[in-house]
Amino acid sequence: MGVEGIGAKVLRKEDRRFITGMGRYTDDMSVPGMKHAAFVRSPHAHARIVSIDASAARDMPGFVEFLDGQQLKADGIGNIICGWQVTSKDGSPMKMGAYPALADQIVRYVGQPIGIVIGDTQAQARDAAEAVMIEYEELPVVVKGPDAIKEGAPQLHPEAENNISFDWEIGDAEATAKAFENPAKVVRLDILNNRLSPNPIEPRATLGHYNPAEDHYTCYTTSQNPHVARLVMSAFYNVAPEHKLRVIAPDVGGGFGAKIYIYPEEIVCLWASKRALVPVKWASDRTEAFLTDAHGRDHVSDVEMALDADHRILGLRVNTIANLGAYMSLFSSATPTYLYATLLSGQYNIPAIYANVKGVYTNTAPVDAYRGAGRPEATFLIERTMETAARELGISPADFRRINFIRSFPHQTPVIMNYDTGDFEATMEAAMKTIDVAGFEARRAEAKARGKLRGLGMSCYIEACGIAPSKAVGSLGAGVGLWESAEIRVNPVGTIEVLTGSHSHGQGHETTFAQVVAQRFGVSVDNIQIVHGDTDKVQFGMGTYGSRSGAVGCSAISKALDKVEAKAKKIGAHLLEADEGDIVIENGEVKVAGTDKKLAWHEVCLSAYTGHNLPDGMEPGLKEGAFYDPQNFTFPAGTYICEVEVDPETGVTEIIDFVAADDFGNIINPMIVEGQVHGGLAQGIGQALMEGVNYDETGQLVTASYMDYAMPRAWDLPMFKVETLVTPCTTNPLGLKGCGEAGAIGSPPAVINAITDAIGNNDLTMPATPEKVWNAINAVA
């Protein structure tokens, strides 16, 4: 490893603009003549729109325009789509309820947009939006997944009988039934996975700008995948033709999944800009974010695990009801199916697995991928079951896992996945050593003497990143390929621009991607520029989500670098009159191996562009592109251990210690990887202890601000102990597995296993608020 190459702790190139206030986010953008938008939203969870009267709004100061769903429909703007077609177990396609960007007949969740008001200022637009009078006929409401499929439940969509979008299965039902025929023991659990709001601190925003002189559209937006936004807005929503639409996602203040999807506001602002012939900017406030950003999780499951007399797992049976919300968001069908149930084997040899997932509609905001997307739900279910089984068997949770660990690779699970590598025992041993499991009972006794309850909880997670290959996901219903593209532009002076379809919104790509290039040629990271987030600059890309930017995005860069290297070597060999096979490029020099013959990197680059002395028939220039389609998912895995202390008087849980031992394969920048783990842990601990989206029975969101939705604060969290072990991924060129989501995937069960260990009551749901913990303590006292 060089000082700036792969594996080096390089400080972030992008930091300076952020720490000096020079970051440029969507809401910081302004263009001449720009006006501001406010959305008129439904105050009801389920209602028929009887009439809309904007006459009072039109008289308000600064009013520019009001547009509603009828006009949207008349202009041929298409309904919002779900990009992954899931097939039910009876062979029928999922049932998608029509989802217009502005509701024109029925509203199905509080906050659903009905109209847009454009005003001179944001405050004036909001004032005018409040003056739009809408008459509603209220309809009955259902908010919980299990309630939605009960007989007599209010029906949301004519397309979806009993509110079921899909009734999907995976695994072998017969083999699993057989595993339960004569087991030594069966462990059963009911599992709730609480509904969350992703909460990037930058609220969503968009600036739609139609230029009538050029008949051209520009959309600034808070997106994790601007090219996907452009494709979907042109091909499916008919907002603008793809070749006339430029989508720019500038600095984006966190995503966590919530900024993958193409939301009504982006579509409507761009369309409204053409209708009103003014640039239109909309910036969400936090309450709108809680109401309309896609939520995450919200599963209700039951699980059964069959064991033999030697404590080996024989089979696993799972039933899950996944709350989809009122409409299907872009990947909402894939999240509780292919991103969830395919991980139900965990780190364990399980011969037979069967899972049934029902995706159901309710009068709540759409639910989609949030950091981890399906894998946290699978991990929580498996790891709660593992810990429960160990307790019921009276053996240590570590020993029970040791008995069942997968130890040879590649390993084919009964639920599609083929794990390429891993060393699950190694990460578990590392975590146990760091947290000093051996000394825990003494610490528990010491705490008890102070009247406190100490507990230790473990979670051994495995997840899947870099979802692929495109052919495989296509056969499972994906509407897009899941490859990535890269272009390497070497300038005549030897500096390098990397154009990538990945998008950085906190992950530090401007540094880590530059390190990948620095490693290859020995060019300083200061001489490498990463370009992303603009469809006019980067040809195409699938964006950043699912921890794919390393495993897929960097693989595309690596592939393009191969081509640049090959051409540079040809030029070097020609100039140095040497054999191409003898040329090496390192430390910024192009050398003939074993001799002192060499050229500086920039001399070769300049030669490529002067074209004065190139091999016969070679094109000038040094620029190459590549598309990379992975052969397989990658499988990060590890063990997290949490130690808690509970105050039995108050039910308050304090995280005393938290250890993460992860195997992410090879690592480009350990500082950035640790940062990703820290952030993921905070979100996972937040889910376990305090976060929860709550609707009341009328479908009103009662957690719609930071006063009501508990975000983890600095005092809620400890200093984390993070370490990494490496088994390189075998299916991509750099051996990377991905690190963006593991923290949020692995941590919730560790926390709940620790609290239930401390209080001696296994019956505890997330978020484990002091009230719930106190009640759980007193239920067994």
Partner: protein, 157 residues
């Protein structure tokens, strides 16, 4: 009012919040808005030397005051000790909460100096929410900046 050492004047509606005046009238967009309830702290600036949430006061209330925003915390090209510590300790990811964090931490260090400890940092960050870092590296950055600024103060004596 004075903003980052310069006299500024501007017209705004009575109801305009200080944060909107800074962002929209003065085009100082480094100060961010992350919530509607004065919880997130992305909008923290210094008003007459003290950290305040610029979403919690009207622009007219700041008339005649000295305001420092994130754009004014460095001395020319020289980053402040807190800015440097955030970079060196990877105390930021997406950067959105970062201006508010830096303004809050700078204020914290001005009051506690090198005596600043982890518990105090965590307690005093209660008004600043970060979704990316888990606060781990922000706390490290704050403590490092405090010790360096403290050492500098001692050296100056």
């Amino acid at each position: 009012m004075t903003v980052n050492g310069r006299n500024v004047a501007g017209e705004c509606e009575d109801r305009t919040l200080l944060v909107h005046f800074l962002r929209e009238t003065l085009h100082l967009t480094g100060t961010h808005v992350g919530c509607d309830t004065s919880q997130c702290g992305a909008c923290v600036v210094h008003l007459d030397g003290k950290a305040v949430k610029s979403c919690s006061m009207l622009a007219v209330q700041a008339s005649g005051s000295h305001v420092t925003t994130i754009e004014g915390i460095a001395k020319g090209q020289d980053l402040s000790a807190v800015q440097t510590a955030f970079k060196e300790h990877h105390g930021l990811q997406c950067g959105y909460c970062t201006p508010g964090m830096i303004m809050t931490v700078t204020d914290m260090i001005s009051r506690h100096g090198s005596e600043l400890d982890e518990a105090t940092v965590r307690e005093e960050l209660d008004g600043n929410i970060c979704r990316c870092t888990g606060y781990h590296n922000i706390v490290k950055a704050a403590l490092d900046a405090a010790s360096k600024m403290g050492a500098r103060a001692v050296a100056a004596e």
